[in-house]
């Protein structure tokens, strides 16, 4: 589990987080949403120890990320938004990196590269931006770490690649322990039964809408929302109708009518629209907090 408690962080004099507290429970695919500059990337960097908090606690299991303990590092991988520009092939890249990770699975890497339709022997320099991103995603998944942090993973991917991305992430989050190769190489007994925790930071909510659950919406000095889809749909009602509702927390025109986000007073079922949810939360910070605290 990832625990952030009363965390403060600033870049020199620019405060990013003030006293935020948040938990990421094991085995979920979290969607980390927030406006530009709210600190999504910074939060991921704090979790993996690339940045150090000014105050408060940041813990991943029993580890403090900023200590950069090797046993912590072999359980976590962070894939940044900007692609790595090493002039080598994905195969060489992962072979150099994989030896450090006890659950690294080479055959899984090859399968992923095949599934993502990228040549593992082609140099990164000769690849398009999207191909580089897909290659690095395959590398990241094949390390089979307990925690995987993805920063804007769908940026630069074309439409079929986005579908492939969703497919491999979904498969990975379900059958991470099914690889015989991984089990044979494991020297940590606890790793076999652990389902990975994936945190996806993104602006492209539509790309990951059916993938992420729970959703975390971040603001500078507070966490606006940290809830599962089940909790969201029990508290909020997403009305897809032809009319605008006066009681709506947020209304948006869509082809054929409107989408209204309303408090779910009558416990009706509805499909969560993440974009509308995000805007509803952003425009009604206080009210949303009240709804979810009750």
């Amino acid at each position: 589990m990832i625990t952030l408690k009363n965390l403060d962080f600033s870049y020199k004099r620019t405060a990013v987080f003030k006293n935020i507290s948040l938990e990421f429970k094991e085995g979920n695919v979290y969607g980390l949403l927030g406006e530009n500059g709210v600190g999504k990337t910074t939060l991921l960097k704090l979790i993996c120890g690339l940045q150090f908090p000014n105050a408060g606690i940041c813990k991943v299991d029993e580890f403090i990320p900023q200590e950069r303990n090797p046993y912590f590092l072999q359980n976590i991988f962070y894939l940044p938004e900007e692609v790595i520009t090493e002039n080598t092939t994905p195969e060489n890249f992962i072979n150099k990196l994989g030896v450090f990770y006890p659950c690294y699975d080479y055959s899984y890497f090859l399968n992923l590269m095949k599934e993502l339709e990228v040549d593992h022997t082609k140099k990164f320099d000769a690849m398009s931006y999207g191909q580089k991103k897909k290659s690095l995603l395959a590398c990241a998944l094949s390390l089979r770490t307990d925690y995987l942090l993805l920063d804007e993973p769908t940026n630069g991917l074309d439409i079929p690649s986005k579908a492939l991305f969703r497919k491999v992430i979904l498969q990975h989050s379900i059958d991470v322990n099914n690889s015989t190769d991984a089990i044979n190489r494991i020297n940590r007994t606890d790793a076999i039964n652990r389902v990975p925790t994936i945190i996806i930071s993104t602006h492209q909510v539509k790309d990951v809408e059916n993938l992420i659950d729970p959703i975390v919406i971040l603001d500078h000095d507070e966490v606006l929302l940290n809830a599962t889809f089940e909790e969201i749909s029990s508290k909020l009602y997403f009305d897809y109708g032809s009319e605008k509702s006066d009681d709506a927390l947020y209304t948006e025109m869509i082809p054929g009518g409107y989408i209204n986000v309303l408090p779910n007073k009558f416990e009706m079922e509805s499909k969560v629209n993440v974009e509308a949810l995000f805007n509803a939360v952003r425009n009604n910070k206080k009210k949303i907090k009240e709804i979810f605290e009750n």
Partner: protein, 280 residues
């Protein structure tokens, strides 16, 4: 479970750094090895005019290039360590800061001077073996192992042959291996640290700073030498002169020893600290 040092993990870091050694530094090595060949060729075409193929000149050239290889290697092998984008993979590699640091020392301080020196001496030997007209006569190897150190003798020349010989023997009685290793460590540590400190133009900034410090140091040395001449008494006996010059040599050696030791300790610690605390 040792989180600070594990031999297998360290081996993996060394292996990883080694795998990218020649791809990152190979061409630099080739250029540095090519310089003695170019110099041989220039000597060859001008040998009727100048007598430039003596062993001391060749040894000095290779030694200078070896120091140059030490200056360049951190910024070629570990240039991304403090880069906010490409440094992420290095920082997140599951190994301790100590293991990463020791691997850096291994490649910057041990592997590079050995590889460069062996390669350059091999090239020099091959050039000296050329049959027919050849400006190179003799082998640097033989000079090193005979402990004749022509270049060293020239450097210490004090004019008086007898005094020269006494001081030369005295200087050679020092443990040169220890001094040389300390100098290499002290020198490399400066470039390892500045590689971690500066994000861009790492080498030129370091050379700029060292040039300024060098000028200040030279002024101090000139003042010191002027002071020596002032202290020098024309009525001294030979023994007194010898003892006086021995004292100066001792002083120089102590200076090299302690300055290298302090530089190595300080900059290696700072490099380790930067590896440990670098944020991205």
């Amino acid at each position: 479970m040792n989180k600070t040092f594990n031999i297998n993990r360290f081996g993996n870091v060394v292996r990883r750094d080694g795998m990218s050694y020649f791809s990152n530094y190979g061409w630099t090595l080739v250029v540095l090895w090519a310089i003695p060949v170019i110099l041989w060729f220039l000597t060859y075409i001008s040998m009727e005019t100048f007598d430039t193929g003596v062993i001391s000149n060749r040894a000095t050239t290779i030694s200078t290039l070896m120091w140059l290889s030490l200056m360049i290697v951190p910024s070629r092998l570990y240039k991304n360590y403090n880069d906010s984008r490409n440094g992420v993979v290095l920082a997140m590699t599951p190994a301790s800061s100590l293991e990463k640091f020791l691997s850096m020392i291994l490649y910057c301080v041990v592997v590079t001077p050995i590889i460069y020196s062996i390669g350059a001496l091999f090239i020099d030997t091959v050039l000296a073996l050329k049959p027919g007209t050849n400006p190179y006569d003799g082998f640097i190897f033989s000079d090193i192992f005979s402990k004749n150190y022509e270049s060293y003798r020239e450097m210490l020349s004090l004019g008086d042959e007898e005094l020269n010989s006494t001081i030369y023997d005295y200087a050679l009685s020092k443990n040169h291996f220890v001094y040389k290793m300390l100098q290499i460590l002290g020198f490399s540590s400066v470039f390892m640290f500045t590689n971690m400190l500066f994000k861009k133009r790492k080498l030129s900034k370091t050379i700029g700073i060292l040039t300024i410090l060098g000028i200040i140091f030279s002024i101090c040395v000139v003042r010191y030498v002027m002071n020596l001449e002032y202290n020098f008494n024309a009525n001294w006996t030979d023994e007194e002169i010898t003892n006086y010059v021995k004292g100066v040599v001792n002083y120089a050696y102590n200076f090299i020893f302690y300055s290298s030791l302090i530089s190595a300790s300080a900059f290696l610690y700072l490099t380790y600290y930067k590896i440990k605390k670098q944020t991205y």
